[in-house]
């Protein structure tokens, strides 16, 4: 006889919730004890929250990322820090995260290339560590050899708009910011890509295009995301701008790219 008869209630068909869980990542059908969830579910939730929080607060391993990014062969990466002095300030002051502390590290980087790529830690440095270099590699491959690409820039304590300062300083046509997204309980290592044509200080989110949820195997794969980004680059350069006006052009370009990938 069970010593905790109220823990799970009457017998539930073992596959009832299992079958439904195939339809959603939601935490459905959690067993009850009284009105509360059982200890197992409580601890699972706390573990997921801990992972998400750690993903926010773990500092980026710049040395390891530099090594991975160097191997892409785009030139020696340089690192730029935002004005946010630490993680606590970064979280409280998004305005600091959008401004560089010092653009001096860019002094020796060649100007006027077609494209620059910024790898930004954002709210999930772990996402950048795990997926940043392979994603940039896939994007470079998808772009082919039509464009000149500046040596990569690694940005720490960075918000998306920090890239505008870097892109403007490097006088590039198109800026690609790869950034760690706000971690949820289900996924703590998701990357987003923001594309800006003609980057300059003072642009808003309405001037950028975004590709989100890049985190294989659960989210977009590197190749899928890279195809979309390459399509956006084509569209932005043809149109001379990015943001709201770009959508239809890029979709057509992406669909064309997907069609050719199927061929």
């Amino acid at each position: 006889m069970s010593t905790t008869p109220e823990t799970t209630g009457p017998p539930t068909g073992p596959d009832f919730w299992t079958r439904l869980r195939e339809t959603t990542p939601s935490r459905i059908g959690l067993a009850r004890t009284g009105d509360a969830i059982t200890t197992r579910h409580l601890l699972e939730f706390r573990s997921a929250h801990a992972a998400a929080r750690d993903a926010v607060h773990e500092p980026l391993d710049v040395a390891a990322l530099t090594e991975q990014v160097t191997a892409l062969g785009l030139g020696d990466p340089v690192t730029v820090a935002s004005r946010a002095a630490g993680r606590s300030e970064y979280l409280r002051r998004p305005d600091f995260g959008r401004h560089p502390a010092d653009l001096g590290p860019l002094d020796d980087v060649p100007r006027g290339r077609d494209i620059a790529v910024v790898l930004a830690d954002g709210l999930s440095p772990r996402a950048l560590s795990e997926h940043g270099a392979p994603l940039v590699g896939a994007i470079v491959e998808a772009l082919g050899d039509r464009w000149s690409i500046a040596p990569p820039v690694i940005a720490t304590q960075a918000r998306v708009a920090l890239g505008d300062h870097i892109g403007a300083a490097l006088e590039v046509g198109t800026l690609i910011v790869v950034i760690g997204e706000r971690p949820g309980l289900s996924v703590a290592d998701s990357l987003g890509v923001y594309l800006t044509q003609g980057p300059r200080v003072g642009l808003t989110d309405a001037d950028r295009n975004c590709v989100s949820n890049i985190h294989p195997p659960g989210g977009l794969s590197y190749a899928q995301a890279a195809r979309v980004v390459a399509g956006l680059v084509e569209g932005a350069r043809a149109l001379g701008r990015s943001g709201v006006a770009l959508k239809d052009t890029s979709r057509a370009a992406v669909e064309a790219a997907e069609r050719s990938a199927l061929d």
Binding site: G13, F16, R21, R27, R32, G184
Partner: protein, 470 residues
């Protein structure tokens, strides 16, 4: 501009106008620090509260925080002000108003006094008095004010706690949404609304989700309302095409610029409400609007600068959003209190305080307030903070809260309450669901004779058929 002065411990603090005074009198908040309008020390904050306590309530009618000429929310607030309703408190200062409210709240006829007062209050008056209140004051006054609304059931009755069942899905998959709806219903959730935040703004997807929810509701004869939370213009188009819309949803802010950043104008809301009213889908009432708000939205849109270009504090702007909401007699209004992030509400303490402020201020203005008790993973908060806020709100008679499977919203990437949490709050505080929904729970065998939600085998429940989505 009136310069306010206050001497405290031998130091004289000055505040340049009402906007500055309101901001500096606000309890510590990261969003006000970000906007550059917060008090720079605890002593300055205390001095501002002393000075604010001496300001007459009528001052807020003469000195709006956003200019009348350029802000349509201000025009609505001033033009709709009911001088006769204001009469009982017209001569009071903000400090005297706090004393008056707490005295009224302790009387048995409090609701009879506060309900007719609401049209005489402006958001700025209510925001100001809330800044002087402690958390327990906010709870006492909020509980004393009574606001009930109705569509297919009745929300806001004393002794009741309703929930929005939020079955979000990362790809809007119909089967996945239906599975989450089943989970929520089996746990007694969904009386305020079954409402989805769609992952896409595609009208075709929104229409499919509306039909899915309407089908579930009508097949099982559930006395509740459904909603797909998309832009008001999308809902308006879909209503005209015959989609089954119960409630018109929109996120709103407390400034014209904030609403513009949501792509919303006041006329749009009025038009959508008229169309929804004409559908006549309500059974026990016809309150057809659903609004979401949240501190920080105007600042996040860069639409927070008031008279003389000064930043207005985020709590005052939030209450101004309620001033806009009440024009449209909503069924539901909820503040998504911890959603935006720690740059606006840093930690559990700030989130709990803001949740109670929002609830109290909305209720005083006559709104059916609910709260999404929630936080993001980069905020300094956890589920213990959510338990605290839920229990405080429920004890203070909040109309509804939002609940998702296991407290984990897998589409929006934040944590709200679990269906289980609402069961706990109902049983700890002796609260029940909306009456029509409670009767339904009994009819389908989900609720026991004491009103508790049974532990049942879902495979034996007729409701399980709702997941058989084609």
């Amino acid at each position: 501009m009136t310069v306010y002065r206050q001497t405290l411990d031998g130091h004289t603090y000055t505040f340049d106008g009402i906007v500055d005074l309101l901001a500096k009198a606000t309890p510590q908040r990261s969003g006000d620090e970000l906007a550059g309008c917060a008090a720079t020390s605890d002593a300055e904050r205390a001095a501002a509260q002393w000075a604010l306590a001496d300001v007459e309530l009528a001052t807020f009618l003469q000195h709006p925080v956003m200019p009348y000429e350029t802000d349509d929310v201000t025009r609505l607030i001033i033009d709709r002000h009911d001088a006769a309703a204001f009469a009982p408190v017209r001569s009071l200062t903000v400090g005297e108003f706090r004393d008056w409210l707490l005295a009224v709240a302790a009387r048995p006829d409090a609701a009879d006094v506060l309900t007719p007062l609401a049209p005489g209050l402006t958001p700025e008056m209510v925001a100001a008095v809330s800044k002087l209140m402690r958390n327990a004051d906010l709870m006492a006054v909020a509980k004393a004010a009574r606001v009930t609304t109705a569509f297919r059931n009745t929300i806001g009755l004393p002794g009741r706690l309703a929930t929005r069942l939020q079955p979000n899905h990362p790809t809007d998959d119909a089967k996945g949404v239906a599975a989450a709806v089943l989970d929520g219903l089996l746990l007694g959730s969904g009386d305020a609304v079954i409402g989805i935040n769609p992952a896409t703004d595609s009208p075709a997807t929104v229409a499919e989700l509306l039909r899915l929810l309407d089908d579930i509701r009508s097949r099982f004869d559930i006395p509740t309302q459904t909603c797909v939370l998309t832009h008001v213009t999308t809902t308006l188009d879909l209503m005209r095409q015959g989609a089954p819309v119960d409630l018109v949803f929109q996120s709103i802010a407390g400034t014209q610029g904030g609403n513009a950043s949501f792509g919303v104008e006041i006329e749009m809301l009025a038009e959508a409400r008229d169309v929804a009213l004409n559908l006549g889908r309500g059974t026990v009432g016809n309150d057809v609007m659903y609004f979401e708000t949240g501190q920080g939205s105007a600042l996040s849109a860069g639409a927070h600068l008031g008279v003389d270009g000064r930043p207005v504090d985020q709590q005052t702007l939030e209450v101004r959003a309620y001033g806009l909401a009440r024009e449209f007699h909503p069924l539901l209004v909820n503040t998504v209190v911890g959603f935006i992030g720690p740059e606006y509400l840093y930690d559990g303490k700030q989130i709990i305080r803001a949740g109670l402020e929002d609830y109290c201020c909305g209720k005083l203005l006559g709104l059916p307030m609910g709260v999404d008790v929630c936080y993001t993973n980069h905020a300094e908060a956890d589920q213990d903070d959510m338990d605290s806020l839920l229990m405080l709100l429920a004890a203070a008679g909040v109309g509804f809260v939002i609940a998702v499977p296991g407290a984990d919203d897998v589409m929006l990437g934040y944590q709200s309450l679990a269906f289980h949490d609402v069961l706990s709050a109902r049983s700890v505080l002796g609260l029940r669901p909306a009456p029509e929904f409670e009767t339904w729970l009994q009819t389908v065998g989900l609720s026991d004779e004491r009103g508790g939600i049974r532990l049942i085998d879902p495979s034996g429940s007729a409701l399980q058929q709702l997941t058989a989505v084609s």
